[in-house]
């Protein structure tokens, strides 16, 4: 089967920095997650796919055609950039309908399509407000709407869940599922593993401009689970909390931070720790001020994978 996207020894650099380093991939239909920490090269790779950037070396083809300066292929590609870029004095409706007409729809068709797409992304109620007054989540949804307006065969979504509230995230994930069922090819990028997991099993792992791995997300998850996670908890009873948590098999160790006395919990199953914590905190009347995991993005995992 002909791949939708194919790259051969693809390279792109910005001055001294190699943003994409010798990437040869073949992406077929379905949903593919592009997973990597910030600065890994995800956005650069997506921009190469949509023809916003020109390869410095190698080549990339979409639907069998080169994309740089090939504006006609844009009819088949929808791109949702990670950048926050809008005509702030336009309303959401005006913004999307203008881009619909630029995609080739007549005024009447564009009007109908815009209403339909804004309904899909749940922006109908706010369509007549100026974009400048939108929240980050609303802006994200309008960006998504413009990528869908011309019903493209291929969707490239760069961090589409950024800035969205939980309902927005849930709806967007469902939308990706529906679009996949309708036969669209989708590439969605993120630096958060569980976001990608919710949308697809098939991922490309990227770091420092290189593809580290491709395949099933569950295999990646198993790798992460083998690597202990540190979770930092700042609370009023760290010793009590430590003594409770250390009884669980998945907790490897607990330590008090020398800087501020916060509790650092090392666990091989962070998801179980997170689901267990609220109950423990309530039962023991522990006040938690701050909770985060320095390992909860992919940087630590990549350090572990790359060695």
């Amino acid at each position: 089967m002909t791949p939708i996207i194919e790259s051969t020894s693809l390279c792109k650099w910005y001055s001294q920095v190699m943003a994409v380093n010798d990437i040869s991939i073949s992406v077929g239909s379905g949903v593919t997650g592009l997973l990597g920490p910030n600065g890994a090269g995800k956005s650069t790779l997506l921009k190469l796919m949509v023809g916003l950037l020109k390869p410095d070396k190698g080549e990339i083809k979409v639907f069998g055609e080169r994309v740089w300066n090939n504006n006609q292929i844009n009819q088949r590609i929808g791109f949702c950039p990670d950048l926050d870029a809008f005509y702030e004095t336009m309303t959401g409706f005006q913004f999307v309908i203008s881009l619909a007409m630029l995609s080739g729809y007549s005024k009447t068709e564009a009007d109908e399509r815009t209403m339909e797409v804004l309904r899909t992304v749940d922006m109908l109620d706010n369509k007549d407000k100026k974009i400048g007054a939108y929240s980050k989540g609303m802006k994200q949804r309008v960006k998504l709407a413009q990528s869908l307006i011309h019903d493209p065969e291929l969707l490239l979504l760069d961090e589409p869940l950024n800035g969205m509230d939980p309902i927005g995230r849930h709806n967007t994930i469902k939308l990706v599922e529906q679009l996949n069922q309708r036969g669209k090819t989708i590439i969605v990028s993120s630096h958060i593993l569980h976001e990608i997991e919710a949308m697809t099993d098939n991922i490309l792992l990227i770091n420092n401009g290189r593809i580290l791995a491709e395949g099933n997300v569950h295999e990646i998850r198993e790798l992460i689970d083998k690597h202990p996670h540190n979770v930092y908890i700042n609370c009023d009873k760290p010793r009590l909390l430590a003594s409770i948590l250390v009884q669980y098999d998945d907790v490897v160790s607990t330590n008090l931070s020398k800087e501020d006395g916060g509790l650092i919990v090392e666990t091989v199953k962070p998801d179980e720790l997170y689901s267990r914590l609220p109950g423990i905190i309530l039962e023991n009347d522990i006040k938690v001020e701050n909770l985060h995991s320095p390992d909860d993005n992919l940087q630590a995992v990549f350090k572990y994978l790359v060695g």
Binding site: L52, N74, I77, M101, L102, S103
Partner: protein, 273 residues
Amino acid sequence: MVETDQNRQSDFKSTALRSFKVIFSITFNQTIKSKKTIFMLILAFLPVFLTLYYRIAQPEHIVPPHLVLFHVMIFFLLFVSILIALFYGNAMIGDEVDNKTIIYYFIRPVQKYMIIIGKFVAYLAGVFLIIIPPMLISFLIISSDSQMSTDFASTVDTFARQLGVVMLGLTVYGSIFMFFGARLKHPIIIGLLLAFGWEKIMLIVPGLIRKFSVAHYLVSAFPIDPSMQTALEDVSKGSTSSPITSIIMIAIITVVFLGLSIHAMYNKEYKFE
């Protein structure tokens, strides 16, 4: 087969026309609604306030009205229009790049040359709307003075042609500054150096080198009342090209810089990091 080719050509024309209309509409609205428009309107109406003041506060006509009119029109030609062209011309592409909104054009099935053409025509519509009213009002305020020439028809004719040259100035400078916005990293600085450095210097140096400036051709094409010939020679240093040659050169420069803008758009990578 012929029918299919005709349908294809017809589809292409209607798509190209639709793209042009949308690009024009977006750009024109952004131009008019932009914050710089207030500043540009104040600048453009400054001569109006000056001419009003002249009419109200100069009963003795120390300075004859036709001389005032000449200098006001030269002020529009060599200062106001260049500044308007600089900020709006650069904004056509430069602002879209700075605000990263140009991405939305590039990810649509729109020919890049159409982006330039659509934006340039929108720029012209916007800047003509800004400059024509204050020029007209200034002219009417001064020309209503009883000391002006009795041949009003001739005065109107001269004004109409002066307005035409100012519009030509906005067109040619707009094309140059649009290219700067499309190609250069610091287009406003380079534009200021051109507009108030090179162009102004070329107006005060004699000889052939003057022909390497746009201002030379604009001043050469600028029609004046014969009584103002001496005042014009002060501006032109006695060195002018014929009006026809000047208009042709202005047209050529405009086309060349529009072509360069299109070339820049096809070859430059706009990186949004």
